[in-house]
Symmetry: none
Subunit: 402 residues, 2 copies
Amino acid sequence: MPFDYIPPLLRDSSTKIVLLVMDGLGGLPIEAGGPTELEAAQTPQMDKLAAEGVLGQATPIRTGITPGSGPAHLALFGYDPLEYEIGRGVLESVGVGLEVRLGDVAARGNFCSLDDKGNISDRRAGRIPSEEAIPLVERLKSIEIPGVTTEVRHVKEYRFAVVMRGEDLHPEIHDTDPQRTGVPPLQATAHSAAAEPTAQLFNQWISKANQALADQPKANGMTLRGFSTDPRLPTFKDSYGLKAAAISVYPMYKGVASLVGMQVIDFQGEAPEDEFSALKKAWDDYDFFFIHIKKTDSKGEDGDFDGKAKIIEGVDQALPQLLDLKPDVLIITGDHSTPARMKTHSWHPVPFLLWAPAVVRPDDQNTFGERACGRGGLGDFPSMNTLPLALAHAGRLEKFGA
Amino acid sequence: MPFDYIPPLLRDSSTKIVLLVMDGLGGLPIEAGGPTELEAAQTPQMDKLAAEGVLGQATPIRTGITPGSGPAHLALFGYDPLEYEIGRGVLESVGVGLEVRLGDVAARGNFCSLDDKGNISDRRAGRIPSEEAIPLVERLKSIEIPGVTTEVRHVKEYRFAVVMRGEDLHPEIHDTDPQRTGVPPLQATAHSAAAEPTAQLFNQWISKANQALADQPKANGMTLRGFSTDPRLPTFKDSYGLKAAAISVYPMYKGVASLVGMQVIDFQGEAPEDEFSALKKAWDDYDFFFIHIKKTDSKGEDGDFDGKAKIIEGVDQALPQLLDLKPDVLIITGDHSTPARMKTHSWHPVPFLLWAPAVVRPDDQNTFGERACGRGGLGDFPSMNTLPLALAHAGRLEKFGA
């Protein structure tokens, strides 16, 4: 349980909490003294919320640590990423929409190039493009191993994910990637006695896969890594008493949300307006809504400062749709920073806006931006405090002690 | 390991980090509404760095706790002083330039006055001045104990340090200081079976020392305290992947730096310019440079507000020498506060300036001073976060998780 003092304090409530996550929201100025992406964006709605609410800056994992998307979301949901870990195979699998149930074993796969002696000549199969890899993944889907079922899905370029389902499977299996060329891929070997049969099943699968790929000039072999299963995270219901829903365009975030017990909402479209429409439809059925906006991060990774600012402006323009639902608590933040200047995730703290009209203690900031958040009334705090703040402002926690 | 999640994230880099520590930097106004020492000092270089970089205030140990110099530096280096302890004997010994290897036993010594019954009449030998104590320490240097070697060095007034080296020595020995007068010094007694022979060796040494001091009117006896050995701190190389160098005029800080595996750089002179010249010479050979300026603390302890401000101004004037080397990350801070008004170390947080031109997220502060640091974008944080911040801004950490 992420906060073991919280479940005994939970009380019934009909209040609604919205956690609006703009992926990679935090940024940097392009030039000295200039604005960040969020500061440059015209965000009248968010600025009004900032004036009425309170700001702060959140550190996702630990000071100085740049988070991957999985750990960053775990932290936002209150699960310390140093304590709760989603295996790489599971993360890759849920990221492309594969289901990983408890007892399944998931792995990340790389196509690789093997020479005529069976040694790896390229660990990434010449980075074959997705168009070439997708038909190869189709071949892998048809492999059958007695006693188990496997699901395979393409990820990107030379990467794919595989999930094996059956009786008594165990994930304690070493990577088959030797991490260098000039040697053959390793056999799958178990590091627990219980996992030995599972390792043999994967070896059978790899062997059949290699046969299916034998005619390929580049992608004629594979390595598997990150064998793992459902991490059995405590659920939002048990941890926070919340019936929670997730609204996201990208499978990866749906996947992480489902691992903490959120219901993933199906909807059409990709725009913030579409996500907010889905929110409206689901409004009566849940207490807590996680809404994920991906493109702030994508534009940041592209180094597109103006594009990232525009995405933020698009969210701001759609915001009245969300506000019309009259949430009791609205938090607008990111999972981590992705400054366009750096074209990658970074360790910088994340702007955080908490709005809860009835009970928030306002500071004297009235714009939503990094510098304002650095002066905000919430101060600096770990992202893991997000849910306790949300529950408190939603009136969902009893007093501790008499 | 101070941050066990850091070593797996380290990546090779040629970036350079400078940690410039002005000892006891933090101060207080002399009169209500007035400036602190740092605020009063004219520091155009540091103010420019503050405008381009980000400020904050660092708490060395825990809120409200006034640090000694050893723990304060451990904290700056990332080692929680509540977890990692340098024994008092070791700290005193390395502070006067004695080497303490693993297996050596170091102790702090006090000369004391014994009456004709052998009872202590003054625990500090009438606070004899250094000039009187130095020749007595010379006498102690000539004591020989079969099977071990001893090194003795004068510290200040009635204080000295002794290090015993030999086979199978153990430091679990009680202080011989009874903490009161009218009774004789205690025998050295072990609190582990393994340390009993070591305690006897120290008793032999004390007995010969008392013979050598028998003709003295005041300093005719001694007590020993703080028996300890090399604390085996994790090294900077293992903890942070850094090849680290220490530039300091005072042995104590060289000693603490060497205990965490820094290479101590020899150089001539005492001025900031001399330290920065040493930095330039060592620049190509190391990744990380700890530069220690002592006199800010000394002036603070003297209650000399203007003198402390002048020392800060001297560092500022010399700073272009350092900046010409183009460090990737420069941190300017103190190990603790020593307000001239208080004439002693204090618990107040320490002004902290982080400058890293490529990747720092600036705040809107543009002077380096306590009030500005209290509004800075780094907020309030433990001094132990210094190295993670440095590594992140130096591009020396991989992303955590996918």
